[in-house]
């Protein structure tokens, strides 16, 4: 029985002739903040999709807290303690910010469907609790004042934070963030870095982070894995990765010029 929180054991994701991810071994311990980087198309989001159950790995297994989760439906995995944000924002466009976040709290409801239809006191109390949880998550992300605004009315950076608030409302033990800093200006990225560390501390989370913004990656990640064409080409501390020849060759060389 391994002590690691998440374990990808020789995971391969094949789409017809294309191997998006090939033989990936990745282990994440409880409490870590790990970064997953690589050029576009390297397979990073595919890794997320395998972990969260959007895809079942063609070969290999994903284990969470010792139990195999690969092949389970996405919603079972989400209820089991892993939530995520998306590379392209996927908010519920016709719901308010509060409702967006409250949806993620749904797995933690106590009242059944019949209670909801009959409006029992038990249901009312449960509903208040769910909304309170949602409001708390909005507050952590600094969005409490926008609770009743439509989610689409938010600025881009705020929408990204809303997605994080939503993922948190699911009370995860492992949080997957897919390019949370995409499209943010340097100041917003700084705030995001502080936010992620704050959230990790406050909720005792383990975080796996996909990101292209090297300042963010090097700034907060304790360990980094690098993918290129579906293969893991390097893994180590930020310092090790920064100077790793294969990584520089594949990716960082152009990045450091523009970072």
């Amino acid at each position: 029985m391994s002590a690691s929180l998440l374990e990808l054991d020789r995971c391969t994701m094949q789409f017809g002739g294309l191997k998006a991810v090939a033989d990936l071994d990745l282990t994440i311990q409880k409490g870590e903040l790990v970064g997953l980087i690589g050029p576009n198309g390297a397979g990073k989001t595919t890794v997320f999709n395998m972990v969260t159950g959007v895809y079942a790995p063609t070969r290999g297994a994903v284990r969470f807290e010792g139990r195999t989760i690969s092949g389970l439906k996405a919603n079972r995995i989400a209820c089991g303690g892993i939530t995520r944000t998306f590379q392209n924002i996927r908010l519920f466009s016709r719901l308010s910010c509060l409702d967006n976040v409250a949806v993620a709290a749904h797995p933690h409801r106590k009242a059944g469907l019949l209670s909801a239809v009959l409006r029992t006191p038990g249901f009312e109390a449960d509903e208040r609790a769910l909304r309170a949880l949602a409001l708390e998550m909005l507050d952590v992300l600094g969005l409490a004042s926008h609770a009743d605004a439509p989610a689409t009315a938010l600025a881009y950076g705020q929408q990204r934070r809303l997605e994080i608030a939503r993922a948190l409302a699911g009370k995860p033990r492992l949080l997957l963030l897919d390019e949370p800093a995409a499209g943010l200006n340097p100041q917003e990225s700084e705030e995001l870095m502080r936010l992620i560390q704050d959230v990790r501390r406050r909720f005792g989370l383990t975080i796996l982070l996909i990101e292209h913004d090297m300042k963010v990656v090097m700034g907060i990640c304790e360990r980094i894995a690098v993918l290129d064409y579906g293969l893991k080409i390097a893994e180590g501390s930020p310092a090790e990765i920064r100077s790793h020849p294969r990584v520089i060759e594949a990716y960082l060389g152009d990045e450091s010029a523009s970072a």
Binding site: T45, N49, V54, F86
Partner: protein, 300 residues
């Protein structure tokens, strides 16, 4: 055995009609991701326009091959125009709307054509004149083919071959293929997406009109609601073959025709319409992409 072969011949004849209609569905779906509910009604209009043209040419009294061809071509041309009008007026405005809105628009157009037709032509059935005197051709093994069936087969094959040549070997055809893959990319390549879409509608409508005339030659009774069931069946045929796939529509149409004739012959005529629905449900539950289709997955 000879009965079975006869059924097969009948089935293939019917199937080629379904194929002609199915081609229109599949092409429009391929470029617009829209199920053109009104397509079956174009088939109906084809029959009616054929009727009025025949009467004008007095083709019923003094039939001749030339008049028959004129009736066919006139009907095809007229329906191509109608298809163009429908596309421009009703479908273009909802091209970027949610799919349900477009579907409802299509349903609305269908109802409009049917009920407008009932208003215009009268809801009572009319009789298509006999443009070609019928006689049977014995094929041996106890199988007969009426010359009308033969004409249906020949015309269908000719039209489908022409379509294949158009799509695969002309610039317009290649443009149609491009638009069916990606509007944006096609337009960046200098293709006028609007014109190609309109053109596709016109071709599809012309084929449906041809089907209408061909069927009316065989079964002369026509009425404004005659397009509903054939339209639905042709749609099932298109889905069967893989919607968006042109050879698939032809195969689907033939399968549909043969299945229907066999069920009617060996089971019971009351299930004739039901077989289409059963086929539809089976294919959508077992292999939604159809025989030749490719399943499209959404990128997360």
């Amino acid at each position: 055995m000879s009965e079975f072969l006869q059924q097969l011949v009948n089935g293939v004849t019917w199937g080629s009609v379904y194929a002609l209609i199915a081609l229109g569905y599949t092409m429009v779906y391929g470029i617009l991701r829209l199920i053109n509910f009104a397509h079956g009604d174009i088939y109906m209009l084809g029959a009616f326009i054929g009727l009025y043209t025949s009467n004008w040419l007095r083709a019923g009294e003094a039939p001749s091959p030339a008049k028959a061809i004129a009736v066919l071509l006139t009907s095809m041309a007229a329906c191509a125009l109608i298809g163009m009008l429908i596309e421009r007026l009703a479908y273009k405005p909802v091209r970027r709307s949610p799919r349900l809105s477009a579907l409802i628009t299509a349903i609305g157009v269908s109802l409009l054509l049917e009920n407008g037709g009932a208003l215009l032509f009268g809801a009572d059935p009319k009789f298509f004149p006999q443009l070609i005197p019928s006689h049977n051709i014995a094929l041996g093994m106890g199988v007969t083919l009426s010359n009308q069936q033969l004409i249906v087969l020949v015309v269908s094959v000719v039209l489908m071959t022409l379509l294949r040549l158009l799509v695969l070997h002309t610039r317009v055809g290649k443009a149609m293929q491009a638009v069916s893959h990606n509007h944006m990319a096609a337009s960046l390549m200098g293709i006028s997406v609007d014109r190609i879409i309109t053109f596709t509608f016109m071709i599809g409508s012309a084929l449906a009109a041809a089907a209408g005339v061909l069927v009316a030659l065989q079964s002369p009774k026509i009425e404004p609601y005659m397009g509903i069931m054939p339209g639905l069946k042709a749609f099932v045929a298109a889905v069967l073959g893989g919607i968006g796939n042109i050879p698939g529509a032809v195969v689907g149409g033939l399968v549909m025709g043969v299945a229907e004739v066999l069920v009617t012959g060996y089971l019971s005529p009351t299930y004739r319409d039901a077989i289409a629905f059963v086929l539809l449900i089976v294919i959508l539950l077992v292999r939604p992409a159809g025989i030749f289709g490719k399943a499209v997955t959404e990128k997360v």
